[in-house]
Symmetry: C2
Subunit: 779 residues, 2 copies
């Protein structure tokens, strides 16, 4: 099904049941542990070659010449791809991009970041391919570069792209390209009320600038692509560790000029995604190399290249908030600059989220947001777990504490005076149908025994201790489409057909639980298929915490169709109205007469039914006016809060997390264990961003592309107490995603705790010992 | 969808359109010619091993010992499978069979035909596997054997199976096992009226016995299976050249004790099937070997082993027909003995078709048929293009001519006096809703300028010439279930999801045509998926000429759902009622206002619709009472006729076919070229059976397992004139299968032509020069 949902509903109510609400183990848990899992990394096919990429050492340079002849002659080298290959009349397009086609598959005339690919080698072994890289001679003419937003927007700045970007012509009318120019890729603006007047009249105004650095996803599994191009059949088959099977299919279909049905994208389970694997990434270059080589090509990105593959946007957010003396917010004016790096990737969409999210979960009558995607000569930035939201929340939840301080008010109290409540409108003009922020904030405050007097102290060992809270709102991708199909086979085994990607988050497990209960069979009998665009139904993307709700809804609808058909078949055999039949634990029985029952297998065999199938969909609609930011930003809103207790060693500036608490509105919890694990992951990611992670560039070249010099949270850093909580109200039937919800408030709560402990605020992430010490020393 | 069809209809009406009715080339024609087609034969996967089978040299023997130790030690041998392996507690079941589980995967205590597998070897190369066969030492104790039906049914005959067969417990209540015993596997009986009384009162009675030999399918592509058993995940994946993906899946799931969802059967295009590849054949032994080896195993059956893989049933039919002097049939009494070989395979079903088909397309008030599946020590017999029907038609259409001769009546006239007409009941009690036999017979007679006076002549060169006609009815598998799904992607490309197997017959091409027209997009934009039981919807089987009608109907229904959804989406954009929209050539337009139109892609992009999906099904019901043969044998009836003109060289007995004509009731023809090609193939198969083909056994051992000594029709044998005709009445909207319809009447028409030319009848096929000469010489 597609288009408008037949019943006008964009979600599906579920109740706890035999499987739903149970902490079922991740279906493929054992294979993840014993190594038998079919990661793309482990894939082999006959005649496969191995790829390595030659990359620019310069952040910005003109390519004067590329000589690959020596590399091509190296025994074992099968093909070397350069921009020259795209001159062939049968060549694929040389540029791609999910919104703006600005990214070359391999660079021809210019490189735009240190790491931009200039050639790709396919060889019999990865070692030969690596050796061939050393034989490729590229002559560069280095160009002046821009690496920061300030540099990029300065007058007379060198241009990353000589021409302004052109949007892809398909369905992107909500992207504002008109504002683009110079190094501005795209902009987004939100307008509500009269900000200038309101700020002029405000009794207090806080005006600060907050900074989030670029960080990397560091998925356990790197990007892996295995591509086969069949030139005679004009078919392209790609095995990829992607979160977006259909987005990749569509990008390749466009690039190769093939109908979507001639491009097959198969997606085995992933070893983590976090947004790094949304949209086409290394599929275009691997597919083009396979096209050139005439043999299958497998690319496994080395860890150091992972660090320049895609990043979380560096953001600089200038935020002014006006309020009354008694703590009513009256206006907020925000300029958000997202450093998008050399190519647009999904920046044009992300800056919208990053823009309106700056309003926070607050009722503010006058709002102005200008959000910019800025091109620089850094690796491209893209989606990262709750994209745009954590940068925004870092800014607005610091600012709320700063405003409270200015007002001499308890920051929790200040928030509570302004939190959105059910039925109020958000700054986009959309009504909040659910509002749990008061509850969430209360829980977060209680978790650290918050009181205005206890927010800072000095421990017996002389450490400075502090507490902090934060509360956030987060949108989910809207509009959105999820289709699913379910097939109950005659032996009672069930197949769930979905293109939702399993990447360790347990998506396939919760879909199996939902399907099992919606039909009435044991969850052990459910098998969830590997996404394969040749076979599995359309799904927009596995991201934005949307899978359990959207795909879960589609699967539930499909499974309910199956249950109805099963009851209809059984009604003749059991001589009862199908309405009087219940299906549970694989048995169809007459309600109240359990002895009158038949197994699914008996029903199928006796009616000679080979299988029972059904399909279902969940479609949401919405969108924002590109000039005013008014409309529907999100089908529903993710809501979370966090609190933290930290200690700072005044001698070193090092921050110790004594307690970290995070809570998310969960709606109906399908699998408590998996939900809590997602919360744990999200909270620790937030802590890692708050305290450790930062990509450091020198002259535009990344200096810490490894896990010795780039720090992520480690076992030794874990909070002394880590608590997560799922807000599931009695009778709740709606599923809410929660995989990303607590990452943003954890960063902000840690920021507020550090500020309370240190007595001074670090507005630049991460809050490293050096920065904390510098701030405390007033430098 | 499943179970009862929602609209109570078991077929779908279609009209000629942009694609339907057009002679579209077979979609994969080019790849079939240039060798790029993905036959299972060409499949390779990493770590694959190659299999060969050790087979019994004796038709019947006890196995005293099997020693595979020397074979196991041969370098490059990976595993050797014997019955002993099935003693392991985790072993799969050692027997399989689609109706009766009587066939050992490998023999343990007894071999039952010359060729029965006793061991299977997996090795690094096929050559090593072949060499290993020579190192396997089996000690046999030869047993008395039965190779003919007469031997098998004689008193005190050796038993092929010591115990009577037990039916599988699933859904086979219509198989009569009660009559089994001794070497009778199963029996079927049809009872109508009082045959004994009617025959006693009949004015004339013909009583003759007719014989059809065992023949082989000789598909271009042999049986190929590539199996991988993942013991850690307990998953079995099989790539197979099978006509029945789901039948194979179910057989393996049962054998390995796995849920159906843990068995994946993928079916690439086949190089011919003709029934030889229905139900599990070499999948069990290859999968068991893969289980033992712990590595993928590929088996490609050598041509000589193809000849002992499965055969068309040898049949001996004693038929008595009584009539009035003026040529009204009053009674028919038939005993049919099908030589099923060593294992039941699908004999229990086939003997039903072969039984009731003996009545022919005639109105006979008193009928008795006893049809038997008989075990012998020959290779197992199974499905062969129109199973059971050609043997029956050979008998009854010879007998009609013999009766006409006895009555001194024109055999065409005799038939016309008795042909079933619309609304009459067949001997099973079911009403014939369509009856085209008069028309078909008239066409066949006209094609050879039939007249009673011209049926025999002597040519100028002294050759004996003769004409013959025949007319037949043929059932199709009933009940039957076909599911399909269709997905229209946003770029206007369409996927048809079906488990119908493409085996050169053009199934996927006609399904694409039906889908294209039912949505309204060009057929070039349609892609039909490769069957894969993990993904594609359930289909019962690709056999019995059912695919174009049953699966075509399911695809049409699914595509119509897609069209409705597309019109619904477009109605908002075009500001028109969806009922006023037409879809054609990929454009949705307002009826009568072609300028108000949008392409499929525009509709999808503007509504942000990723894809539009729909599903459909065709389910038929029926079945016969096992005691009386009363009920519904066939959802609808295939109807055909043929005529032939032959010349016999009186010196050699060789038959030259001057003209061969075949006509089938076609209903709505989807693709005239492909329909005619199927008719050509079917007619030439019939000619080949009539004149050339016969498996010859000596002491139970096949003596002609090769294409030098086993003759199939060759280019030099082609009729001087070969004409086929499709009976498509104006306004016809129902699809009829026709892939098997004219094989039976061609055999019979040639038999009658030879009899007319020779002046004497050869009742034993094939009508070789020796047999014709013997008959003419009265020996």
């Amino acid at each position: 099904m597609t288009g408008k949902p037949d019943d006008g509903r964009t979600s599906v109510a579920v109740a706890a049941g035999a499987a739903v609400g149970q902490s079922v183990d991740v279906l493929e848990a054992r294979s993840r542990v014993d190594g038998t899992i079919d990661f793309a990394l482990n894939a082999e096919i006959p005649h496969m070659t191995h790829a390595r990429l030659a990359r620019s050492p310069y952040a910005h340079a003109r390519i004067l010449s590329i000589d690959v002849s020596a590399a091509e002659k190296l025994p074992g080298v099968v093909a070397v791809l350069t921009a020259a290959d795209f001159e062939r009349p049968d060549a694929p397009a040389r540029h791609h991009g999910p919104v703006v086609r600005d990214q070359p598959v391999v660079c021809g005339t210019k490189v735009r970041f240190a790491g931009d690919p200039v050639a790709a080698v396919a060889a019999e072994t990865e070692e030969i391919a690596a050796a061939a890289l050393g034989l490729i001679e590229v002559v560069y003419d280095e160009l002046p570069k821009v690496t920061t937003v300030e540099e990029a927007l300065a007058g007379g700045a060198p241009l990353v792209h000589d021409r302004p970007p052109e949007a892809r012509d398909r369905g992107y009318s909500d992207i504002k390209l008109a504002g683009a120019g110079g190094n501005i890729c795209t902009r987004f603006q939100l307008r509500r009320g009269d900000v200038e007047a309101a700020l002029a009249e405000a009794e207090v105004v806080v005006d600060r600038t907050y900074f989030s650095p670029a960080v990397q996803h560091v998925t356990m599994e790197p990007h892996v692509v295995l591509a086969t191009y069949d030139g005679r059949k004009r078919e392209l088959t790609v095995l990829s560790s992607t979160q977006g099977p259909f987005a990749v299919r569509d990008a390749l279909s466009e690039m190769f000029g093939l109908p979507s049905s001639a491009v097959r994208v198969v997606v085995p389970p992933l070893g983590g995604g976090y947004g790094a694997k949304t949209y086409a990434k290394y599929e275009p270059i691997t597919a083009a190399l396979a096209w050139k080589a005439g043999r299958p090509v497998k690319l496994v990105l080395p860890r150091d290249e992972e660090f320049i593959s895609i990043t979380k946007h560096e953001a600089t957010i200038r935020m002014r908030t006006g309020a009354t003396r008694d703590g009513r917010l009256v206006a907020r004016d925000v300029e958000v600059f997202f450093n998008g790096g050399a190519y647009a990737d999904i920046s044009p969409r992300l800056i919208k989220n990053g823009g309106y999210s700056c309003v926070g979960p607050y009722d503010i009558p006058h709002v102005r947001v200008d959000s910019y995607a800025v091109y620089t000569n850094l690796p491209p930035a893209g989606a990262y777990r709750g994209y745009g939201v954590s940068q925004a929340a870092w800014a607005y939840e610091q600012q709320m504490d700063e405003l409270a301080e200015l007002l001499g008010m308890d920051p929790v109290e200040l928030r509570k005076r302004n939190l959105l409540t059910k039925g109020q409108d958000f700054a986009t003009g959309e009504t909040m149908h659910e509002a749990h922020w008061h509850q969430l904030l209360d829980k977060a405050a209680a978790a650290v025994e918050w009181s205005p007097d206890s927010k800072a102290a000095r421990s017996a060992e002389g450490r400075l201790s502090g507490k902090g809270v934060a509360v956030i709102l987060k949108s989910t991708i809207t509009p959105s489409t999820a289709h699913a199909a379910v097939r109950l086979d005659a032996d009672g085994a069930m197949q769930v057909f979905t293109s939702a990607v399993e990447m360790g988050q347990g998506a396939h497990t919760v879909l199996a639980q939902l399907a099992a209960d919606a039909v009435g069979i044991p969850v052990e009998r459910v098998h969830v298929t590997t996404p394969d665009t040749w076979y599995t139904p359309y799904d927009q993307t596995t991201s934005s915490s949307r899978t359990t709700r959207a795909m879960g809804g589609a699967v539930t609808k499909a499974a309910r169709v199956v249950r109805e058909r099963l009851r209809h078949l059984a009604s003749e055999l059991l001589e009862a109205d199908s309405g009087d039949l219940v299906v549970a634990d694989g048995l169809v029985s007459v309600a109240g007469v359990p002895s009158r029952s038949l197994s699914v297998a008996e029903v199928c065999y006796r009616t000679r039914t080979g299988s029972i199938s059904g399909d279902g969909e969940v479609v949401t609609s919405g969108g924002l006016d590109p000039e005013t930011g008014q409309g529907v930003a999100s089908d529903h809103w993710h809501q979370g809060a966090a609190s933290a207790e930290v200690e700072i060693d005044p001698a070193t500036g090092k921050v110790y997390v004594r307690k970290l608490y995070a809570v998310a509105h969960a709606g109906r919890v399908i699998n408590p264990k998996l939900a809590r694990l997602q919360m744990h992951g999200s909270a620790l990611f937030g802590m890692s961003h708050a305290l450790y992670e930062e990509l450091i560039y020198d002259n535009g070249v990344l200096t810490n592309p490894n896990l010795s010099e780039y720090s992520i949270v480690a076992m030794g850093d874990l909070p002394a107490r880590l608590e997560v909580e799922l807000l599931e109200e009695p009778g709740e039937a709606q599923i809410h995603g929660l995989g990303e919800t607590v990452l943003p408030p954890v960063i902000a709560a840690l920021g507020n705790a550090v500020a309370n402990a240190a007595g001074v605020r670090v507005r630049r992430l991460p809050m490293t010992p050096e920065r904390v010490l510098d701030a405390m020393e007033g430098t």
